[in-house]
């Protein structure tokens, strides 16, 4: 896959992440669940920033950034802290896989950016009850 195609794929993933995190944020309460509220809010801000960065990068390459879908699938029942946490963790793990893929498809500054995004995403998993992994974003190595 070309570098541009990998950037577009990552941007599409970030569009989905921003949407899903918006839905998750609406299910959290700053007063009732302050830690989860902060974790989701911070994660939402991080993904928005990455989405905007990817959009600028693709535009600077003279290409049209892939657009967001109208809506994305989210679990029907997000009424509990556990459900929101579980979905947020899954999202971060999926994004880690996406950024690992972007690392492998880019070079230079773009690879460095993708590498940092992978690190930050892996660390953010821990805010959603994730545990440290052996190969964040590259789990096929875990059973080696």
């Amino acid at each position: 896959m070309s570098e541009l195609a990998a950037l577009q794929t990552t941007l599409a993933a970030e569009h989905a992440a921003v949407y899903v995190l918006g839905v998750l944020g609406a299910q959290t309460s700053q007063s009732a669940t302050p830690e989860l509220f902060t974790a989701v809010s911070d994660t939402y801000a991080a993904h928005r920033a990455r989405r905007d960065h990817l959009t600028r990068t693709i535009t600077d390459l003279g290409e049209q950034p892939v657009a967001s879908e109208v809506a994305y699938e989210v679990p029907v029942d997000l009424s509990t802290v556990e459900a929101v946490t579980r979905r947020a963790l899954r999202l971060e793990r999926e994004c880690a896989t996406t950024y690992a893929f972007l690392v492998g498809s880019t070079t230079g500054d773009r690879r460095a950016w993708a590498m940092r995004a992978l690190q930050m995403t892996a660390v953010r998993e821990l805010a959603f009850r994730g545990t440290p992994e052996m190969f964040p974003g590259s789990n096929e190595h875990a059973d080696h």
Binding site: A96, Y99, A100, F101, V103, G104, S105, T106, G108, R111, A112, A114, M115, L118, Q119, T121, A122, V123, E125, L126, P132, E133, M134, F135, P136, G137, S138, E140, H141, A142, H144
Partner: protein
């Protein structure tokens, strides 16, 4: 640091396994980057020259081996548990690079809790930076991805490392 054989066969095997075991990598990439696909240099009938990625793998393996042989560890039980978690991580990373776990004497547990944590944090941060450098230098995207993942794993453990108490 224990000596480790670095024969051409070992290099070829390590990189071949790393590249061959990756998901989502095109066959063309793997063939192009696997030293086994390169013709042997004229006048060198037995050993092809090491390419840049093979050298990177060797450097990372050497660094991992060094990480498993610190001069000293902490006397504090909770710090030793954290050290064990990092050791398990480095052994898993050696496995992904098809390198064996080194054998050697256990390090002396002589450091205080604070010194043990400080030493561990410093060494692991340095190791993480070397993994980042290797990721950025890798010619193979598959190898870069593996190094990035290894670096992220170290970052996760550093994020939950306890603070040093006086």
């Amino acid at each position: 640091m224990p000596d480790r054989p670095t024969t051409a066969t070992t290099r070829r095997t390590a990189l071949g396994v790393v590249l061959g075991g990756l998901v989502g990598v095109s066959a063309c990439d793997a063939v192009d980057l696997d030293p086994r696909s390169e013709p042997a240099a004229s006048g060198s009938p037995t050993e092809p020259p090491a390419d840049a990625d093979t050298v990177l793998v060797e450097q990372v393996v050497a660094d991992l081996v060094a990480m498993l042989a610190p001069a000293a560890t902490s006397r504090a039980r909770d710090v030793r548990r954290v050290e064990a978690s990092f050791f398990a991580l480095h052994v898993a990373h050696l496995g992904a690079l098809d390198a064996p776990e080194p054998e050697g004497p256990a390090p002396q547990a002589t450091l205080s809790r604070a010194d043990g944590l400080r030493s561990l944090r410093r060494r692991e941060r340095q190791h993480q930076r070397r993994l980042e450098d290797a990721c950025l230098a890798a010619t193979s995207g598959a190898l870069a991805r593996l190094f990035a993942s290894m670096s992220a794993a170290v970052a996760q453990r550093l994020a939950v490392l306890p603070e040093e108490r006086p």
